[in-house]
Symmetry: C2
Subunit: 405 residues, 2 copies
């Protein structure tokens, strides 16, 4: 009898959790497991804002996939997925094809620009390691260039962050710490630097408790961050943005660096492959399978699960992706063993902490609001937990955050 072949696309939180759980649950004689990923490393998406600001080196944010998979059990293929031929049970890679019996789509999200003109061309997005270090170097290059010009261009020292959601706020927290270092490094007057957060919604961190939001805003404002709330970006330009002002006026904000941190969508490979989705996110069944495709699972940012309490989708997070990976692995193991009763996924929200730089944060943990050093400590524990869940204690020791006191 031919062994079934399980193919996992993507080595983010969801994909890697599925792979590391499957390698424990499935014997080498039961199935072949193949993990496909563009890079030979996994990166902590939730830490990319630190690499982007330059407060944490990108090598601290990634690790070799081969360090966490059991190579006796999981075959790793480095390749870029181009399309999934669902009719043929085949994945088309940039250089080669792979057929599967069971497929896990864990391709991660993409930046969503909502059709705003110029964003794709002129704004950066904190989407992966390559992008993060480019943002870091772009900002640094602006500071390095400032003093070389006879006519000083103050917009070189202006950074616009589009979006005051989770990523936007965490990035601002890191920037607030990084800017004084850049000023010292390049002999730049701190008061010339502007960091402006532009958010279309009427509040910072929509969905967060207002008391925590106030704490975050006043903390960041004290560090020099400027907030423009209820302000929509109309267009991005090579040297700034245009925002709406009042009913039908616009205003230009000059800035050599524009970082778009406002939108996440699913993966465009989903749509390209003809799988029904909303902005690249598949509304999965309770067992995490794609409706109508009994051998196809989706986990992570490409999946969409409704939070029944508020009748809105859960936001894509590392926490939900990892929980999905655990259920997905158990369900695939069941299918491989011929069982058809699959487990239902239920998100267990353990809380959320939004960092405000290295030594402050806000959040809810164990049902309690926390701020300051306690929240910052919790944030680092959450970061370390993600390492532990996938890579075990040794990965925590290698890449963990211990600057906790």
């Amino acid at each position: 009898m031919r062994k079934p072949k399980i193919v996992i696309l993507g080595a983010g939180y969801g994909g890697l959790m599925t792979a590391t759980r499957l390698q424990k649950q499935i014997g080498v004689n039961e199935a072949d497991i193949v993990l496909v990923n563009k890079n030979d490393y996994h990166y902590e998406t939730t830490w990319l804002h630190e690499a982007s600001a330059g407060t944490l080196h990108h090598d601290r944010v990634r690790y070799d996939i081969r360090d966490v998979i059991d190579r006796q059990k999981v075959e790793f293929v480095q390749g870029t997925v181009e399309e999934i031929k669902t009719e043929e049970n085949r994945v088309i890679l940039e250089n080669g094809d792979i057929v599967y019996d069971y497929l896990v789509i864990a391709l991660g999200g993409e930046s969503e620009t909502f059709g705003i003109k110029g964003l794709k061309e002129y704004a950066f997005s904190i989407v992966n390691v390559n992008a993060a270090r480019q943002i870091r170097e772009h900002i640094e290059y602006q500071f390095a260039t400032y003093n070389t010009e006879a006519e000083k261009k103050d917009e070189r020292l202006s950074i616009v962050v589009g979006g005051a959601g989770f990523t936007g706020i965490e990035f601002l927290g890191e920037l607030a710490n990084r800017i004084p270092e850049l000023c010292r490094e390049y002999d730049v007057d701190f008061h010339k630097v502007k960091v402006i957060c532009v958010e279309a919604a009427p509040t910072v961190l929509p969905g967060f408790d207002p008391e925590l939001v106030n704490y975050a805003v006043s903390y960041l404002e004290k560090k020099g961050i400027e907030f423009r709330i209820g302000t929509a970006i109309k267009e991005a330009l090579p040297d700034g943005i245009i925002v709406a002002k009042g009913e039908d006026q616009v205003e230009e904000i000059k800035a050599s660096t524009v970082v778009w941190a406002a939108g996440v969508r699913g993966n465009s490979i989903i749509e390209k492959s003809g799988i029904e989705a909303m902005r690249g996110r598949v509304k999965v069944q309770p067992d995490l399978r794609v409706p109508g495709h009994d051998n196809m699972f989706v986990v992570g940012d490409c999946s969409l699960i409704i939070n029944e309490e508020i009748n809105r989708p859960y936001p894509p997070t590392a926490q939900i992706a990892m929980q999905q990976g655990e259920v997905c692995a158990r369900n695939i193991a069941a299918l491989v063993r011929g069982k058809n009763e699959l487990e239902t996924f239920k998100f267990d929200n353990k809380g959320t902490v939004c960092s405000l730089g290295e030594d402050d944060a806000i959040g809810v943990a164990f049902g309690k609001k926390i701020v300051g050093a306690k929240a910052s400590f919790m944030k680092k524990m959450i970061d370390n937990r993600a390492l532990y869940m996938i890579g075990g204690a040794s990965m925590v020791l290698k890449k963990g955050k211990f600057n906790i006191f």
Copy 2:
């Protein structure tokens, strides 16, 4: 009786040597000494190629001027010189005027582009701390950007160095060490990187012993540097250069980074002030004074002294500038004391060492040709000596190079 006022323009090797010698030789009751400089720091011009390549931090290359002057005796004015009104004995600064009785022009050199089209706009020059860190960051940004682009632009990884003279070769030596680090940092294939040295003259390091030149070229070639000797740059473009090829053909070399290291001239302030000069360099009298101006001295890159042995000007170096500073200080002290017999400057060439990165070099010292570890050691001793001559032992301890074994 009014005290005479000595004004020194520039705190490079020549100016700072003059100031530190004068403060020892002249009593507070004899004269006022004013030192004018654009920045509040002195930088080691001969180390800028290291800061430009990113192998040495620019803070290691500069020190606070107030750390080496005696503030009881020398007044420091931070300001940018715009013009010297020689008729009025007045220096016009960007914000203010200073009158003088004795003037020392030690304003340093500028990059000379010989009218080659596009060089001023598109090429970098290793001229000061601001420029050096911009070059470092520009190169780093190219590497950071490379992997973010779907269509890879290999010219981002190409660096053209215009000129195989002293600065060009020393910069290439540092780049050769820096490139592998950048490749690791940004996941770039070393074999995609190109560093090309383009030199119009028929040889590398004209004036150097051919045996030493061969050593340098084969050392750098082994590290991946490509030489295009006898090749003139016709034009610099935003993304490369055009060089002459044969009689009347041209060739384009694509490179996102072009560093022009081929020409040095005197300071344009000299010409702007109506002082007779050749490319900004004043042919000074044997006592270092400007012909026809009994109270004006020129030292360093703005002075021109003929080497009688070969009937050509001495190239501008830190060594000659510092020796001039010593003589200039003694001659001014003599004038202040009413003596009219001034000392004649005679350059005492102690040798020349050209570094090839951190751990190799070529040169002539004590009349002997040296290469390898010995030459590299000598180079660091020469660098330390410049610190010692101006700032004493404490400055050597602060900024010296001790990675000598």
